[in-house]
């Protein structure tokens, strides 16, 4: 398959993730959408790296995957904390900074 096929697939998955981030009301649901978008970017990295003939982009992907894991762990810890304090899972209800 040519490079553009992989890029198109990644663009499709990215858009689906973006749709999820916009439409989901649950904080965990929004996080899942962000996961999809990050995955699409990783596909792009690996595809460009492979078609360029060097593996530096794959090293970058490795770092991106590990940082995403840390991000998810922190994000879910914040979700659990918000649940304890507010008893809500809906992003719209988290409006403490509203002026």
């Amino acid at each position: 398959m040519p490079l553009s096929a992989y890029l198109a697939l990644a663009a499709l998955v990215f858009s689906i993730g973006l749709f999820g981030v916009i439409t989901r009301r649950n904080t965990v649901g929004i996080l899942l959408g962000i996961e999809l978008m990050l995955n699409a970017v990783n596909i792009n990295f690996v595809a460009f790296s492979r078609f360029h003939g060097t593996a530096v982009g794959m090293i970058f992907t490795l770092f991106a995957i590990c940082i995403t894991v840390a991000e998810v762990a922190l994000g879910l810890a914040l979700v659990i904390l918000l649940f304890r304090m507010r008893r809500t899972a809906t992003a719209d209800h988290i409006d403490w900074l509203k002026g």
Binding site: P2, F19, T23, R24, L36, A77
Partner: protein, 164 residues
């Protein structure tokens, strides 16, 4: 139809189908399971692109780690609230318009960029090269990554600590 074409389309269908299920399923728990399928599909794409090591990392860290953490969070929060977590979607039209617009722009960009190039032959062993360069050229970021993971996990366990 070569094996690569068949494999690509199979993985593409699995990936797009499970990604759509992630954002459209009502049940949050099912959403997470579909995300696991999407992540395994991505690992398959990585393997097709000769990045077997990355595929393994993807399955271990993402499909193993992230899914476990998300399921854990759902179970904990359900217990705290005492009711089942269903999720409704809102602004479906706006989401569709924005996502379709971004997709159309990306596709037209890919078309215009002239990246319809075939795959070059890879002679070197990518996994071996990655291992060597991670411990030579990229040693400092590699160690910093370990520090970042430690800090992230400590912060997560601090935030989610039991109430006194």
């Amino acid at each position: 139809m070569t094996a690569e074409v068949i494999g690509f389309w199979t993985l593409a269908v699995v990936l797009v189908g499970s990604a759509l299920s992630v954002v459209l399923t009502k049940n949050l728990f099912h959403s997470v399971l579909w995300l696991a399928a999407a992540l395994v599909g991505t690992a398959g794409i990585f393997v097709m692109l000769d990045a077997e090591f990355l595929g393994a990392v993807q399955v271990l860290l993402y499909a193993g780690g992230v899914i476990t953490v998300v399921v854990f969070a759902i179970v904990v929060t359900e217990r705290l609230v005492g009711e089942r977590l269903t999720q409704t979607s809102r602004r479906l039209l706006a989401g569709t318009v924005v996502a379709a617009g971004v997709l159309a722009e990306l596709i037209s960009l890919i078309r215009r960029a002239g990246v319809n190039i075939p795959r070059p032959e890879m002679t070197a062993d990518i996994t071996k090269w990655m291992g060597i360069s991670l411990l030579t050229q990229f040693l400092l970021p590699f160690e910093l990554l370990a520090v970042l993971l430690l800090a992230g996990l400590l912060a997560a366990s601090y935030f989610a600590r039991p109430e006194e």
